[in-house]
């Protein structure tokens, strides 16, 4: 960018406004804080040396000594908010305010002193009048250099006048960059001193990640429930009706040809088979009884459906949150499917119990063992991920030759 164009560019004026506004604001806030400090110091000193004068004066010293430390943090907070607003409005730079603990009245004032960022903010308000103030003056002088040179040139002539004008021109062209430099330095300082510190930002991030993860898990749960409901109210009813009609046709087919009867019989068998398959599928998805009666009741269905004999022992008592119940249910369902597919087991046992605020489910089989979370195609990996998504854990103990125990440990809330 040419120096001439820079003079008229938006960024140059934006930075200049910011710097000039900062100069006035910083000097004012700095002055208020310094005055408060001086006032407090004077009051404390007077009290320490034994105050003279009327009793009202002594009361005043005490009031100042007590009130100033209580008022300063709120004051600093307000000034910081003003400064952050300046950055936001004039530069478009968003600086997140540090978090303050809860509390009211004097407790809050005391807590504010120990709050993270209070001392950093104080440093900014004491530093800003120096850097921002001097920088602001320098920027204003640069912009005004030609005017000043013109005013002074009356007393100058010849080479000195030329030199003054030359210098003033250089300063004028330097003004945009100087303004930008000061604004950048101010921004860097403000980000560091008025914003949140790294630990706070990380904590915030962890919190928001945990929240969005929980939302995702809940959303998936809701989705499954919706699909179950839609299938139940739609396709399943229609299939039952279809199978029913075919059943009635089959029962009534006395004077039909054998071919027709065979076709009807086949259609009837297909319809009932489709119903059974669909029911099995939805059972694995999210049975309605899980919401209605909880994990304990829902596990009966999944255990009974398994292709091998399953023993079920449930001691849950108070129910866990719906997402956790859904994950636990799905884990058992998947584990049993796995056993049927890979374990060559003759029987399995499900033990589910609530220990404090943990839900612990162990699925044991007497199969050939050798399973691991990492073995692909077993679905164990997916289960481990699901458990991890709610801060739970899945462990597999499966020595070669068996027995295999898959344990899912989930937080109840």
């Amino acid at each position: 960018m040419t120096p001439v164009r820079a003079l008229a560019s938006p960024w140059a004026w934006q930075a200049t406004f910011h710097v000039v506004a900062g100069m006035f604001l910083s000097v004012t806030t700095g002055a208020v804080i310094c005055s408060a400090a001086v006032l407090w110091w004077a009051a404390v000193l007077s009290l320490a040396e034994g105050p003279t004068g009327s009793w009202m004066l002594r009361v005043l010293y005490v009031v100042v000594a007590v009130v100033v430390p209580l008022a300063v943090p709120s004051c600093v907070r307000f000034f910081s908010a003003l400064q952050r607003e300046r950055f936001r409005a004039l530069l478009g730079v968003d600086i997140a305010a540090p978090k303050y603990g809860p509390g009211t009245g004097w407790r809050r004032s005391v807590r504010l002193w120990t709050a993270s960022g209070m001392w950093r903010q104080l440093v900014y308000h004491l530093l800003a009048p120096l850097l921002g103030g001097l920088g602001g003056v320098a920027v204003v002088l640069c912009w005004a250099a030609p005017l000043l040179a013109a005013l002074w040139s009356e007393s100058m002539s010849g080479p000195r006048g030329l030199l003054a004008f030359g210098g003033a021109t250089v300063l004028l062209f330097a003004a945009p960059w100087l303004a930008r430099g000061v604004a950048a330095a101010d921004t860097a300082a403000a980000r560091r001193l008025l914003g949140r510190d790294h630990a706070e930002e990380l904590a915030e991030r962890v919190e928001s990640l945990a929240r969005s993860r929980a939302d995702l898990v809940a959303a998936e749960d809701t989705q499954r429930r919706r699909i179950e409901r839609d299938l139940h109210d739609g396709v399943q009813q229609r299939l039952v009706s279809l199978a029913l009609n075919l059943g009635m046709a089959r029962a009534a087919s006395t004077d039909r040809s054998p071919q027709d009867a065979a076709v009807i019989a086949a259609a009837h068998e297909d319809a009932t088979a489709a119903l059974a398959e669909l029911r099995d599928f939805v059972r694995g998805l999210h049975p309605a009884v899980l919401n209605d009666r909880g994990l304990d009741a829902a596990l009966s269905g999944v255990a009974a459906r398994a292709s091998l004999p399953v023993q079920l022992n449930v001691h849950i008592g108070q129910r866990c949150s719906p997402s956790i119940e859904a994950i636990a249910y799905f884990a058992v369902s998947e584990a049993l499917t796995n056993i049927a597919k890979h374990a060559e087991a003759s029987r399995a046992e499900i033990a589910a119990q609530r220990v404090g605020d943990r839900l612990i489910i162990a699925v044991t089989d007497d199969g050939r063992g050798g399973a691991s979370v990492d073995s692909t195609g077993t679905g164990l990996q997916g289960l481990a991920q699901r458990a991890a998504a709610v801060d739970g854990r899945l462990t597999v103990v499966s020595p070669p030759g068996g027995p295999t125990t898959i344990t899912v440990d989930l937080p109840c809330e």
Partner: protein, 213 residues
């Protein structure tokens, strides 16, 4: 035989009504939710009620709750509950009042028209008809109890007893001789420590033990 039917799906309500009428039942009312069902039962005093589990407004277990009300208030009215899914916990609720005159079947079973009508007649006559799937669910919840003493064959026989079959029915289902079934049944009674009094009574007790009710 007079029937009140409660089913929220219009399609199935029509289908079931036709099925029952063709089967010789007199459908005196076909309603769409539990409240209407209770009103209809109060008005018509039918012999048997056929009720769906999931109905408005909450679509959870309205049918089961209505069935329980009917069983308590009108012990003479038999109840047959139909559902897309059978659940052991609902079955336990249903059987907790009384094990006679109660049925709990998957909706699929209605497609086996004559089997379903037989089961319904059995229920109306004071018998039980439990879906094999719900019986299987009740079985996985057995813990340390006399059930463990039964051989797999005896468990199978007991399961059929729980479904409401007579010895003849069991003979037919297992394709074994009538005397073999009688032997299994007496073994079951012995192993479950049921004294030799009235046979039918022991039968109910055996089923009750089996169901853990």
């Amino acid at each position: 035989m007079r029937v009140v039917l409660a089913e929220d799906s219009v399609l199935l309500r029509a289908g079931l009504t036709k099925l029952l009428r063709d089967g010789g039942f007199d459908v005196v009312a076909a309603v769409a939710d539990a409240d209407q069902l209770l009103t209809a039962v109060d008005t018509h005093r039918p012999d048997v009620v056929v009720v769906d589990v999931r109905m408005p407004p909450t679509h959870t277990d309205e049918g089961i709750r209505a069935a329980l009300v009917i069983r308590r208030q009108y012990p003479k009215i038999a109840v047959c509950v139909l559902s897309q899914y059978v659940e052991e916990s609902y079955a336990t609720d249903l059987l907790s009042v009384d094990t006679s005159g109660v049925g709990y079947l998957l909706k699929d079973r209605v497609a086996r028209v004559s089997d379903f009508l037989d089961a319904l007649r059995r229920v109306a006559a004071g018998g039980t008809a439990l879906d094999p799937e719900v019986v299987a669910q009740l079985l996985v919840r057995r813990r340390d109890d006399p059930m463990r003493r039964l051989t797999p064959r005896e468990q199978e026989v007991l399961k059929l007893m729980a479904e409401g079959r007579s010895n003849n029915g069991i003979t037919e289902a297992l394709k074994v001789s009538h005397s073999a079934v009688e032997k299994y049944v007496s073994n079951i009674f012995a192993k479950l420590d049921l004294p030799p009094t009235d046979t039918d009574h022991r039968r109910v007790l055996a089923v009750l033990k089996y169901l853990g009710a």
